[in-house]
């Protein structure tokens, strides 16, 4: 990455001030996390006392793991994000392809109806969607958490934008070789849109890994609860206020995403940039 302000790079005292400011802010920014990590890796008597001689321990993680069915919560979240992403890929790809490749009466209207979801978000329609799930008889299940998000207007929009850039010549060449419409989609469009799938996938996985309010509302059993809700149930009821164990559980539930981020920083940031948001 090159810097664009080369001529305005601060020098001398200004540079020192800027560097100091940037580092101060960074320390301030990371402080709550470091504090939580300290509490998680030390015995409860040291959770709010800082001494270099305090012994490090994994005891809190062991106790947290045993105190609540976190293994099951991990599995649920894993199933949830995989299911959501697989369905999103399938539905959004088909819909985006229809909007790019076909002309049909009412295309613009239907596209506007799809985009309405960007404004009328599932996060807000909690009361009615809860009723719909109860009517479908699937309350307290993983599909119930995923369903409102599966037909993602954002995914359709993003893929449509990408599909539009696919050169017509490639498609014509495939058609001459006798490929059907669906084959063209699978062999030409999808491979060319790979970076967008990766970007959208990362954004979707982090969104659904972290989503809380809707899963809290539709689930009430260990079998369906994702990690976020499991963590909340654990932290608010089971533990009283044993901070070291709560911090351990908190770090544990965020660890997979955090590790993935630290390892693939550039891809993460690129993806968030590509996909914008959600």
């Amino acid at each position: 990455m090159s810097t664009a302000t080369g001529a305005y790079e601060p020098r001398g005292a200004a540079r020192l001030a800027e560097t100091t400011g940037a580092w101060l802010l960074a320390v301030l920014w990371i402080l709550p996390l470091v504090y939580a990590a300290w509490a998680a890796f030390h015995a409860p008597e040291f959770s709010a006392r800082f001494s270099p001689s305090a012994p490090w321990t994994l005891e809190n993680f062991v106790r947290a793991w045993q105190a609540a069915p976190f293994a099951r919560y991990f599995l649920n979240t894993f199933v949830l994000v995989t299911l959501t992403l697989a369905c999103q890929f399938l539905l959004c790809t088909l819909a985006a392809y229809a909007f790019t490749r076909y002309r049909f009466v009412g295309r613009e209207v239907v596209f506007a109806l799809v985009l309405a979801q960007l404004m009328i978000m599932p996060d807000v329609l909690i009361v009615e969607n809860y009723r719909t799930m109860s009517w479908l008889g699937i309350l307290d299940s993983i599909p119930a958490i995923a369903l409102p998000y599966v037909a993602s207007a954002f995914g359709i929009f993003l893929l449509r934008q990408t599909f539009k850039t696919v050169p017509k010549e490639l498609e014509d060449a495939a058609r001459i070789e006798g490929a059907s419409d669906l084959q063209i989609l699978v062999k030409v469009y999808v491979p060319l849109a790979r970076p967008i799938y990766v970007a959208y996938g990362l954004v979707s996985v982090s969104f659904h890994w972290n989503n809380f309010l809707w899963p809290l509302i539709v689930t009430n059993s260990v079998e369906a609860r994702p990690l976020t809700v499991g963590l909340q149930v654990f932290a608010s009821t089971d533990q009283g206020i044993d901070w070291s164990i709560i911090c351990a559980a908190t770090l544990m539930t965020s660890a997979p995403l955090l590790l993935a981020f630290l390892l693939f920083q550039r891809q993460f940031i690129q993806s968030f940039l590509r996909a914008g948001i959600r």
């Binding site: 504090y35 295309r107 329609l125």
Partner: protein, 291 residues
Amino acid sequence: MKHRAAEIHAWLLLLPALVLLALFTHWPAVETFIDSLHSTPRGRRAAAFVGLDNYRQMLEDPVFRQAVVNNLWYALGTIPTSIALALLMAIWVNDRIAGRTVLRMAYFTPTVLPMIAVANIWLFFYTPQYGLLEQVLGLFGAPTRNWLGSTDTALACVTLVAIWKEAGFFMIFYLAALQQIPPTLAEAAALEGTPRWTFFRRVQFPLLMPTTLFVLVNAVINAFRTVDHIVVMTRGGPDNASTLLLYYIYQVGFSFWDTTYAATLTIVMLSALAIVALGQYFLLDRRIHYR
């Protein structure tokens, strides 16, 4: 005939997405409106059409008013601060200062964590007597106080958490935009002896306008739709001091089970989001210089 077949093909491709959108977006939105005109069925009493009664009740509901006021303060607290911080972070990280990769990571990390985890960490941070905030303030001899348990500070505390979580996210958009500005602009301005502040105000900031708009819209939406930290940290308390609109909807819908009143509140929420969307489309989009 061939055209017909293609048209049917297109609708078949769209069908699964459209069915789900209709079921979980369009129909619920319409139903929310219909519900808001009815009373909540209780026991043997069925729902009855009550016209605008729910809206009248809402306007007289002190908790609703407080939720709206709180939400506006919360928006005012989070949006400008996180955008300004994001811009500052991006400018710093864009310069060649020591350890900028580490800095960027430090700023961005809160974004990756679940809001619920963030809220737990900050809950610990704010704990009276015991928490880090109290310990640091204690060093300066400040009296202890219950930050989340006091009506004066609870809303400010949750606002701070949102800023912490969001700023790093917006930073990456600014950073990407800064790197797109051609270096020749800076060189030319420097040759003319333009001070850095003027260069920022007259060149960089206007060129960043599309990014600012994008970030602004997302910040506004987030200010209305994220209440995970409220659930964990304050439950809207004390005395509704930190209740936000969506949290109040959640409370009315799932603690008091007054579904039609919750629907009425949802209509307010949807109107707010619609205003944001229309504002973005008609006002801001036209005034901004796109490259």
